[in-house]
Symmetry: C2
Subunit: 361 residues, 2 copies
């Protein structure tokens, strides 16, 4: 990997090699799952245009998209396929399951954008921005069902009904947990003080659940060994935390060009991400007064954003975020210690953890 | 059944007896499914307050509700349990499945209210009206997952993994169809002319799919006989159409006190329900000009509503709605002809069809 400055188009090059290895398999799975429903001779077709637009395949008119960077990293399906290959040296049996994970993650993104009134994602207008809230709501729901169906139909590809049912239960329970996390997150918005512990519990649900179940599901289709599945489950929880804390970091200190998000964006939006929660917990005197006052305002101006950035700097929010991401990364590696894995898999797991905890986008 | 004028509190008395017979079983199933998740010592608890509020169990503060009329008819689970009992003389095995159907129907209602900006349902403020759009969106998603989990977990109650998986596939496919129907419905809003055939195709998805799958699922847990399952599936499609056309009728000509909806409400909201679609297809001259003009306005006043009512009257929209509901009812009864059923079941099926096609609320 080269170390040249990242530009909009070469960021993907920094991903660990497993992303490239599984990329076309994930895409095939997604295309197949969506194509199973996208055959209406009727008025529902604009539904699938909005879904394919969100997935980065077409533009707003339904014509094929040319700029592949608008697609996501396919993180969750990659994790799922990795767990499956690490335990069984084969990925075939996890293809549909991996696609389902990505579809369900994308359903949550479409609804998240409505909730947060976000107008842009991956350098493009969000679905609700293009088609309005009612259609975006329906598109999200449809995407979830397309994902569920992809998963429920895996038994038609040779997976036993027992395993298919088990992974469906795992996935459904985990996205209910994700939803519960979203709900806590919404509740936090109207509160000024949240403890770091409350925040970490919330992201364990909102972000961690789908990371955890992705790895658990990938492991479950590969092996019936409960200890191995459990190890990958803990691995998932830990990398989920590392990922989210790094995401919070990038939302404040990330480079706009690489992350696709505006710098200081999360502060301007008064988002109580980890660095802010930590600062609110640590602050005293003028810093506490200023944070409290600023986070109770309806809107923040440039001066407010600068003041918050100064306070976070003073209180060591950046260092603490790094520390938590680092500790989660170490715990993740530790989780897999007891599992018998081929060398390539252990090395890749460590590279993955390193990437998630230190990525710049 | 008495024929006294219906009041807000005695409408339930007009329901066919199967509703009373299954009522407590459905309620138990719902309570059990929701209770499985509603145990958070955390900030997600307001999520379950909003869900239980929507189900009519608690008020906005979370205190037990006193007025049972705010609960729905539990139509879909009742149909499911009926199919199961008619084919196997037992309902035990369909309890969780029936609860799942009702939960998923209610998820769609919470989201429908957001889409349509409806402020009232069952004489109560809607969830988005009380808690805002973001929380209502999340509550709907959670309710769907609670329903899915209830269904996926039926194998823990003795149903085989194969049958559990089959009914999960049926249900998921049918609510994707329901969502596709909602999408067509949204697309229709921006078009002036829709044919009656397009409209009937839309409601076959939007309303019919869940009726059909409810009966198909109830039949599937009772028997492996494909012809019997198929007969109940066709029965469901037909009563779905009869139900929706009657719903459209009541939305225009229904009695406000019994239906819980404002008279002429669907006209004022420019809803293109069957009577209006039929009138637009039939109209000529001044009637067509007036309908076209009125349905292109942003808002309708009393004079507009009266003019539309007069046109529907002239063109026989009421009679045509009755005719379609009647024909669907007859086809429904016909669908079950080839199935060997006990006398009580055939009689109840006929009473049910009669109720759905002629109900006043």
């Amino acid at each position: 990997m080269t170390n040249q400055p990242a530009t909009k188009l070469d960021t993907r090059a920094q991903l660990p090699p497993m992303f490239a290895r599984y990329k076309s398999r994930v895409e095939q799975g997604l295309i197949q799952a969506v194509a199973q429903r996208d055959t209406p001779p009727n008025e529902a077709d604009s539904l699938y245009v909005s879904i394919k637009y969100h997935l980065g395949w077409v533009d707003q008119t339904g014509s094929p998209a040319t700029d592949a960077i608008t697609q996501g990293k396919a993180l969750r399906p990659t994790l799922c396929l990795f767990a499956c290959e690490a335990l069984s040296e084969s990925v075939e049996q996890a293809s549909s399951v991996a696609a389902a994970l990505e579809l369900i993650h994308n359903f949550s993104l479409i609804h998240d954008d409505i909730q947060d009134q976000d107008r842009e994602r991956r350098h493009q207008p969000t679905v609700w921005c293009v088609w309005g809230v009612p259609k975006a709501l329906v598109a999200g729901n449809a995407l979830q069902s397309v994902g569920d169906l992809a998963l429920l139909n895996t038994n038609k590809e040779g997976t036993s009904p027992e395993v298919t049912l088990k992974v469906s239960q795992l996935l459904t329970a985990s996205y209910l947990e994700m939803i519960e996390g979203q709900c806590m997150d919404l509740a936090f918005e109207s509160e000024v003080y949240i403890t770091a512990a409350q925040y970490l519990n919330m992201i364990a649900c909102k972000t961690g659940a789908l990371f955890r179940s992705g790895l658990e599901i990938g492991a479950s289709v590969a092996t019936a060994d409960a200890a191995d599945v459990d190890a990958f489950s803990r691995f998932g929880s830990n990398i989920g935390r590392a990922f989210q804390i790094r995401d919070d970091y990038l939302g404040i200190w990330g480079d706009t060009a690489t992350s696709g998000k505006a710098a200081g964006n999360d502060i301007r939006r008064r988002k109580k991400s980890f660095p802010v929660v930590f600062a609110l917990e640590q602050a005293n005197g003028a810093a506490l007064d200023d944070l409290t006052r600023i986070y109770q305002q309806e809107e923040l101006d440039d001066k407010d954003v600068d003041r918050v950035l100064d306070i976070l700097d003073e209180l060591g929010s950046k260092e603490q975020s790094d520390k938590i991401a680092e500790a989660s990364a170490e715990e993740a590696v530790e989780s897999l210690k007891g599992v018998s894995l081929p060398d390539w898999a252990r090395e890749e797991a460590e590279d993955l953890v390193d990437f998630l905890a230190h990525r710049e986008y």
